[in-house]
């Protein structure tokens, strides 16, 4: 067993929250058409109806997380660089020996900022880039000039040898030309990943779903991207709430930022109390046997079902996630066709 397998197995079994998604703000400088954050909440110009966590509250939470065994921390938003204290937070996370990932749109990352970032324990900076066509990217973000600054940020980070992953949700708007992103990523030495799912807004608004690529585009994507091997004995296991945990910018604790079953709030209770004593978790962390429809599905080894999105999009935490079914169907066809070649 590899170190990573052992790490995952031990921590999931013993319920150690080793991996944390920490949403630092909902505010954002971009207005991406597909964003899952409630549009009312991500507008930096609007008056907040809830107060986001302060610097000292975040430091306190990071200390509690370190004491609970958390090693990997992902700082996400909104846009994290809109927080004036973001470098203070990075400093503190470094001091607490976290392995840090940042999700950002990169617009605020200049050469100077990239240089500053190189001092931290960054294992990854995930940057959203929608197209190598400036007009398409800027139309998706709703902000003219954002493409130029995002591309420049990626280059600046790579010049500092900071690991970068280009993150691209594939939509009807940017589907054609996604291979140019692969070329760009290879040129600058970045990783890349395409999201072919798209999810509803966290308030249940289904607007982003209308931008999903259709079945024909899905099949084209599979054909161009090569073989997606089926999993072996897939038990649809998700470690959210087992060794993965999410905290939003108001201190609410969830199994994952896309699994919106609230465990508790860090302004009211300590993390250890919420994590250990939470009874909701036991009801929601399901085994394969709980998934009455999915457990006998013949697409199971092609399936990437997410329990949180099954709940959000299809209304049943024990039921299928319809988008995962569509993708699994295409994946199975693709693999069968490959096998018969």
């Amino acid at each position: 067993m590899s170190v990573i397998e052992k790490f995952n197995r031990v921590t999931a079994k013993k319920n150690i929250p080793v991996s944390i998604m920490f949403e630092l703000t909902k505010k954002c400088n971009l207005r991406c058409i597909h964003c899952y954050i409630n549009p009312v909440e991500n507008q930096s110009t609007k008056v907040e109806y809830k107060t986001e966590l302060s610097t000292s509250e975040i430091f306190n939470i990071l200390g509690q997380l370190a004491d609970s065994g958390s090693l990997y921390i992902l700082f996400t938003g909104g846009e994290v660089f809109l927080r004036g204290d973001f470098f203070d937070i990075l400093n503190y996370a470094n001091k607490k020996h976290f392995a840090i990932t940042i999700f950002t749109n990169g617009v605020f990352i200049t050469n100077e900022v990239a240089k500053k970032l190189s001092r931290y324990n960054l294992v990854n900076v995930g940057i959203s880039l929608y197209s190598m066509n400036q007009l398409i990217h800027d139309k998706i973000t709703g902000v003219s000039g954002s493409w130029r600054r995002t591309v420049s940020a990626i280059k600046s980070l790579r010049e500092q040898n900071i690991p970068v992953e280009i993150k691209t949700p594939l939509m009807k708007q940017n589907f054609y030309g996604y291979q140019k992103i692969i070329k760009f990523a290879d040129t600058v030495g970045a990783k890349y990943g395409f999201d072919i799912s798209l999810v509803p807004c966290d308030n249940g608004d289904r607007t982003p779903l209308k931008y999903r690529i259709d079945e024909k585009q899905l099949r084209s994507f599979f054909n161009h991207q090569g073989v997606f091997k089926p999993l072996e004995n897939n038990n649809l296991n998700c470690t959210a709430g087992k060794n993965v945990c999410a905290i939003n910018c108001y201190g609410d604790v969830y199994p994952c930022l896309q699994f919106l079953v609230k465990f508790g709030n860090l302004r009211e209770k300590l993390f250890s109390e919420i994590w250990r004593k939470n009874f909701v978790r036991k009801d929601y962390l399901l085994k394969l046997t709980d998934l009455t429809l999915c457990r006998s599905c013949n697409l199971i080894n092609y399936c990437g079902r997410c329990p949180g999105i099954a709940l959000l999009e299809d209304g049943d935490i024990r039921g299928p996630w319809s988008r995962a079914c569509e993708i699994a169907n295409v994946s199975r066809d693709f693999n069968l066709a490959k096998c018969s070649d």
Partner: protein, 85 residues
């Protein structure tokens, strides 16, 4: 301080054993029980002599053997960029 822990690592003691992530390769290293104890002594700024003494007290091992093993371990940490001397 005889040994300095690198700034470019992340680490956590989990279930009694130490996991170290080296940056920027993101490689996850796992220390065994003895190595975890040595690590904790390094964190407490102990020098090599004190580390050997502690290990001999904790485990049934001759000082000469402990010293040799610790030297090898520290040299591996140094090679991986986890500590500096």
């Amino acid at each position: 301080m005889e040994f300095k822990i690198s700034d470019k690592i992340a680490w956590r003691k989990i279930d009694g054993l130490l996991y170290i992530v080296t940056i920027p390769d993101s490689y996850l290293h796992l220390l065994n029980e003895t190595s975890t104890l040595i690590w904790e002594l390094i964190v407490k700024d102990k020098n090599k002599t004190e580390i050997v003494k502690n290990i001999c007290n904790e485990f049934d091992v001759e000082p000469a053997v402990a010293e040799k093993d610790i030297k090898t371990f520290l040299s591996q940490l140094k090679q991986k960029g986890i500590i500096k001397q």
